[in-house]
Each structure stands twice: as C-alpha cells, then as structure tokens.
Symmetry: none
Subunit: 133 residues, 4 copies
Amino acid sequence: MKLTLEQAQKVIAKAQEEAEKIGIPMVIAVVDDGGNLKSFQRMDEALLASVDIAINKAYTALALKMPTHQLAEIAQPGQELYGIEVTNRGRIVTFGGGYPIYLDGSLVGAIGVSGGSVEQDKQVAEAGIKALN
Amino acid sequence: MKLTLEQAQKVIAKAQEEAEKIGIPMVIAVVDDGGNLKSFQRMDEALLASVDIAINKAYTALALKMPTHQLAEIAQPGQELYGIEVTNRGRIVTFGGGYPIYLDGSLVGAIGVSGGSVEQDKQVAEAGIKALN
Amino acid sequence: MKLTLEQAQKVIAKAQEEAEKIGIPMVIAVVDDGGNLKSFQRMDEALLASVDIAINKAYTALALKMPTHQLAEIAQPGQELYGIEVTNRGRIVTFGGGYPIYLDGSLVGAIGVSGGSVEQDKQVAEAGIKALN
Amino acid sequence: MKLTLEQAQKVIAKAQEEAEKIGIPMVIAVVDDGGNLKSFQRMDEALLASVDIAINKAYTALALKMPTHQLAEIAQPGQELYGIEVTNRGRIVTFGGGYPIYLDGSLVGAIGVSGGSVEQDKQVAEAGIKALN
C-alpha cells in the first residue's frame, strides 16, 4: 500500500487548517514510505529554518517508525540513543512534530510540522494525520 | 512583493493539470525569491530522482534569473559557463524545466519541473507559470 | 522591503567600530531576508573559525526570527529544541551573537558576529543593528 | 605579507565602482592567502547564484595561482585538467572572473566576481586588483 499524492495533500490541508486556527504560520511536509518528499507547503511568514526541520521531522518519524517527541526522550544525554541526531547526515530531528502515517495498519509515510512551539507543532501534525481516518 | 503560498499552489495545480493531460507523472517545485522551497508536489509514480532535480531547477532559475534551458546552452564544453553545475553545492541544473516567476515585473520565485523529457518538463512548467497571468 | 547593501555596510561598519573599541578582531556577516549572504568583513587577526560561525549565526537569527542567545537556552539537553543544531545542514548556531534586523517592523535580514566571548559578540552585534535606527 | 581588511575593502570598492559604471549588479569576494573569505559584498539585485560563484572564483584563483579564465581552457574535455571542477568539494570554478592578488610579488589573496557575462566579470575583477597598485 502506497500513500497517494491525494492523501498526502489531504493530510497537509487538514494540518494547515489547524495551523490557521491557532494562528501560527507553519511548514508542513509529508514523506512516503521511502522517506522521500511527497508533498510540502510553507505558509506565508513561516520560519525559514522550518523548511529543513519539517522535512527532517517527517524523515525521522518514518525512518524510526516513531513520533519524534518519543525520540526526544531517548536522545538526551545519558539515554539510550544519545547522539543519534548526527547519524543520518543531519536528517534526524530529536524534538516533537513528526509522526508516522499508517493506512490499515501499514506504515506508508510520515508528516513533519515546524513553525510553532513543539506543542503547537504536535497539535498541527496530529490534526493532519487524522485526515486519513 | 512576495509570492504567496496560494499563488505557488495555483502554479503547481496548473502544472499538474498539464502533466496529467500528457500522462506523465511529474515532480513540481516552487521556490520563493530567496531560493527557499515554498511548495512541492510529487505525483504518484514520478521518478524519485526528480525530487532533487525539480527543487534544484527552481533554485537555478531563481538564482540565475533565467530558464534553465538557456543555461543548458552556455554550460556546454567550450561555452561561457562550462563547469557551472558544480559551483553552488550541487544546486545548479543545466537542462530545461526551470523558469523564473515574475509578478508585475518583479522576480518573486521560480518553478522547477522534472519527470518527463526536457520538452515535457518545459511544457508543464510553462503551463504552471501561466496560472498567475 | 529589502535590506540594501548600503544599509548592510552601515551595520557592519558600526559593529566593526565597536569591535575596535573593545580591541577584539571580529568576523561580521549580514544576510538578507532569504538567509543569503549580503555583506561580510573579517578583521585582521580574527579567528578563522569565525568565518563560518558569523555567517551561520546570521542565518540562524534570520531563519528562526530570534537572537541566537535565546536559542541557546532552549537548545540545551532536556529543553524543547535539543538537537536543533544539526537540522539545517550545519547552519544553526546555538549560542549568542546573531540578531534579526528589522526595518519598519519587517524582518529584512540578520547580523552574525564571532571572534570574542559570547558577551563581546553580542555587544558588537547589538551596536551594529543600532546603525539603522 | 598579509592582505589586510583595509586592502581587501579597497579592492572591492574599486571593483564595485567599475560594476556600477557598466550598470551590472555584481557579487564581489576577496579571500586571503589561506583561501578563506576576507571581505564580501553583494550589490542590490545581483544574481543569488553569484554568492557561491564569486567566493569560489576567488578560492580557485588563489588555490591554483592563476586567473580562472586560464583554467577554463585547460579544464575542457580532452584538455589536461578535464574534470578538475569536482576535485575540491565544489569550490573550483572553470570560467573567468577570479584573479590572484599579489603584493610586492607575493601571492596574498584573490578576488572573485560574478553577476555579468564572463567578460564583464573579468573587467570588474581586473579593475579591483588595480586598486592596490
């Protein structure tokens, strides 16, 4: 099962709707099951740094099959995966806002959101993935 | 004058419509006037290599203020800019499919299209930029 | 609204004046609103490492719309953005010396200063951005 | 003997004057005898691609101790240094606009100019290095 562009766009549209609701300009990226960029939108006035961060959050969530805020905990000094952020040519993000996307139980892609606080990014990303349920 | 996300999406939608008309899955990218990614869509079944190529065609058209097929001519062996493809950290593309986007005479961004032959990429990109006229 | 070269040069001249006053050779960089380098000066005897650091501090301040010493706090282990320094291809600096530049309330660029202690870098950068008021 | 910032600035000012005379916005970079950036100016409206190209032309002229238009000839297919543009992590430019800077017969740095045709870039760079005679 593959994530279609139409589905990716639905995810992004829903996430963008949530970002507009809370009034924060966001960058929203969706990658497919190969970790490659599928769809991407940068809202007007969003942080430039969020271009890379959103894409990398999506990559991280896909590549590790976990939300990036879970990685945040185990990537701290003294924790199991301390240092992981440098292992994948700068593409691992160790804070929240990235989530795997499942369809019928299969991992088909991931979303990454950046632009607000970590809590806001998570809220927007979670709204996005609900678009496929 | 800044290219808005809404305008970038219009450009991409129009380009995608053209790609569907000719039946070739394409990757379509739009960058802003700073060369930073604004909007991106990868159609189902499009070439994976086109992810980078489309983004870099858009960057090239913006950064050199010319369609990339014009660069193609002057980047050949013996021509004026031979070797330019390595000068910008791998972001210069020396074949057609990238076009600057102007609004009221101001350069506000660029589109890059990849996935078909160069002629097909050009056709799709040209359809895209017409969306703003 | 765009930052002109003349304005960028004013910012750098003022920063350099401050660096000379405290007797520390500095590297001073200014980027535009796309995060691209606009103007750059390396004072005689300044640290070579500061070439990249100053440019990247300016990029960071622009791309995150905040002074880099504020990022320093939230990028620490256990804090919200821990790990952010690897997310943007080596361009995020998590210590002080980078500041956004505003003109009439619009973000038009950023300054990055490196060469002294963080406090000295901040002092020199702050002097620089005052040149436009 | 070292190139001072004051001398680098003189070179750039003279080059910029020439660029203004011919009405082409240019990017002008000067590196020191270590190939590291010393001074840099991007004129308003200059091509974004020229940021990297100007710096790399200066690096190339310094690192090979020759004007980059001389390298252009020997970097062509079938010539002695064919392929050299990929040998130095993307920093070798194989077309004109970069010149070594000598003081009293010592190589102390180099200038790189980008933004116009190769002939225009050469003209502006040559004007720049005359500032030290």
